[in-house]
């Protein structure tokens, strides 16, 4: 009698185990979840530290030559040796020429000759090494006061980037986005908001 009871119970047990195994084994398939240990990954260095710091301290910077306005130079045409206007270091609003420029940069702290080189108007003021900065490298001058922004811009944290994230990128000069005479961005028109979902009333009206 006992033997007759055991066999179906044992069969049931094996059947249940087999079913579970079958379902788990077949079900999960050959694809395992992929996981990345991000902590360890971040510590891995792919670029030599000394190499990197060298690049950053270089004065030359891979910046494309965005076309500057034709009228930007030669300033020397008016401010040159032929027509040498006396330099007036007093801040004033009424300039004889350049009336179209509205200066709104730093309020009372900054005016024309705080950036433009009074000795040679084709250049901007120099850094501490005495070499005048040309308009192509105007960012070096911006970095004099806006050091944190300059550092960020150099690392790629500030400003727009296009191109290849792992290769050649296009950096934009400060002046490409920020008008140096009135740097604050003007507000722009936003693009349209997303469509709202249907409310229950609208759902009912649809059907």
């Amino acid at each position: 009698m006992k033997g007759k009871i055991v066999i179906p119970k044992v069969a049931l047990l094996f059947f249940a185990l087999g079913l579970t195994g079958l379902v788990l084994g077949l079900g999960t398939g050959s694809i395992r979840a992929q996981s990345q240990d991000m902590g360890a990954a971040l510590e891995a260095d792919t670029l030599d530290e000394t190499q990197a710091s060298k690049l950053e301290s270089e004065r030359e910077f891979p910046v494309p030559l965005t076309p500057l306005p034709k009228t930007i130079t030669p300033c020397r045409a008016c401010h040159g040796p032929e027509k040498d206007f006396p330099v007036n270091f007093k801040r004033r609003e009424d300039l004889l020429v350049h009336k179209n420029l509205k200066l709104n940069h730093g309020g009372v702290r900054v005016w024309c000759l705080d950036c433009h080189n009074p000795d040679d108007r084709n250049y901007l003021l120099p850094l501490s090494d005495g070499k005048p900065i040309d308009f192509e490298h105007s960012y070096l001058l911006c970095g004099k006061c806006h050091g944190t922004k300059f550092r960020d811009w150099r690392s790629g944290i500030h400003g727009r980037r296009t191109g290849k994230w792992n290769g050649e990128k296009t950096y934009y000069r400060c002046v490409t986005c920020h008008d140096p005479h009135s740097p604050k961005f003007k507000p722009i028109e936003p693009m349209p908001p997303p469509r709202r979902p249907w409310t229950p009333k609208e759902t009912k009206a649809r059907h």
């Binding site: 179906p8 788990l24 079900g27 999960t28 409310t199 229950p200």
Partner: protein
């Protein structure tokens, strides 16, 4: 020869009945056909035919699915007294509850299929052919346990009926392990369904430990209530005998289950209202309205009133043993739990959305018609199966030989 006899006899039984039977079956068939045509329309246009959107991406279908899994799981509540406590009055009638469980499960599977965006890719779910993502995906587990439970609830009564049809005694030692297995399995189907919602950290309304116990408690209210009503109908329209004692015992159990359900609801309320964090907002939306939106508020408040009234009815022996109030209580509880566990569970889970927006959901006509259609198919199957099963159970429908005389065990060819 015997096989065709069964089929012939079954078919004959399915198409003969009283006027009520004809009316009922015709009505259900019409509703089922309407449901199927609506579903074809949904397949044609895509899920945009429903009211579901990116914010509330589950709705009426999944609500019905959740409710019906509970109904199916509740059949176990009757198996426990029947087989473990050998409570005679229930033991004889447990088969009806099991048939109800089967039909409820089939309805669940239909609802999930209706909700699926690409049912044509169902084979992706078959382990071996496709990929069934065990053990991480709760939906995959749900598919396994639901189908297993379906098999158990077909095999166990099937075995019992098979023997009754052939007039053979049942080998209880063989079938008992299956019956015992079906008890934890029934608990597991509803627990796994609860875990589908419970495991989502993104939805704080569902991500509460109280969810799985509440599911079971409310399942043990709605399922047996349906069973009580079903038994009374069976008693009225067939020769199947159901003792009053059995029904009152079931009602007693419902009272206990509802007490637990209401207690757990109270606990949920306290936790959210007292802690007063952002996690309160879905509950607030449901019971009070949020930012002027409160479509479900009248529904859930009605459900709460229904549940409390039904609880009182089932608690007091006088009202429990009075069939008028008993039936009222059953209907109230079924509607109340359907609201609470269907739309009242699924929709507030999505409100507010993860980024804070509040967008409501309302089912479209197609959705409602498909849901009614699936319920009709379920009830159609229930009626048809009972029409065959009950006569077998009572002994009226037995295997007959060529001369029409029932064949007994031990007889010759």
């Amino acid at each position: 020869m015997a096989r065709s006899g069964f089929i012939f006899e079954t078919s004959r039984r399915l198409v003969t009945g009283g006027a009520v039977y004809y009316f009922w079956m015709t009505l259900l068939t019409i509703l089922a056909i309407v449901g199927i045509t609506s579903y074809m329309k949904q397949l044609q246009v895509g899920l945009i035919a429903t009211g579901m959107q990116n914010y509330v991406s589950w709705g009426l279908y999944i609500g019905n699915f959740t409710f019906l899994v509970g109904v199916a799981a509740a059949a176990v509540l009757l198996i426990i007294p029947a087989y473990l406590y050998d409570f005679g009055p229930i033991k004889e009638i447990v088969i009806v509850a099991e048939v109800l469980a089967v039909c409820a499960l089939l309805m669940c599977l239909m609802f999930v299929t209706a909700d699926l965006g690409r049912p044509d890719r169902f084979w992706h779910l078959i382990p071996g052919l496709g990929i069934l993502s065990l053990p991480r995906s709760l939906l995959a587990w749900d598919i396994v346990v639901l189908n297993g439970y379906l098999f158990l609830n077909i095999a166990i009564p099937g075995y019992l009926l098979w023997n009754a049809y052939h007039d053979r005694p049942v080998n209880m030692r063989f079938i008992l392990p299956f019956i015992l297995l079906s008890i934890p399995w029934a608990v597991s189907i509803h627990t796994v369904t609860a875990f589908i919602y419970n495991g989502l950290a993104a939805r704080p309304f569902w991500n509460a430990s109280i969810l799985a116990p509440r599911f079971l408690a409310s399942a043990f209210c709605s399922g047996p209530a349906l069973v009580i009503l079903l038994y009374q109908l069976v008693r009225r329209y067939t020769t199947f005998h159901v003792k009053d004692e059995a029904l009152f015992k079931i009602a007693e159990m419902i009272a206990i289950a509802m007490a637990i359900n209401l207690f757990l609801l109270g606990a949920e309320f306290f936790k959210e209202v007292y802690s007063d964090t952002h996690h309160l907002t879905p509950l607030q939306y449901l019971y009070q309205g949020l930012h002027g939106k409160g479509m479900l508020v009248p529904w859930i408040r009605t459900a709460l009133v229904f549940n409390v009234v039904a609880f009182v009815i089932f608690l007091i022996p006088a009202t429990r043993k009075n069939f008028a109030t008993l039936n009222l209580g059953c209907v109230l509880i079924i509607v109340g739990i359907w609201i609470e566990k269907g739309m009242g569970l699924i929709v507030p889970g999505f409100i507010p959305a993860p980024l804070g927006e509040v967008w409501e959901y309302a089912p479209t006509t197609i959705e409602i018609l498909v849901s009614i259609g699936i319920w009709s198919i379920g009830l159609l199957l229930l009626t048809a199966i009972l029409k065959i099963v009950l006569p077998i159970e009572t002994g009226e429908f037995k295997k007959t030989g060529l001369d029409g005389v029932p064949i007994h065990a031990g007889g010759g060819l």
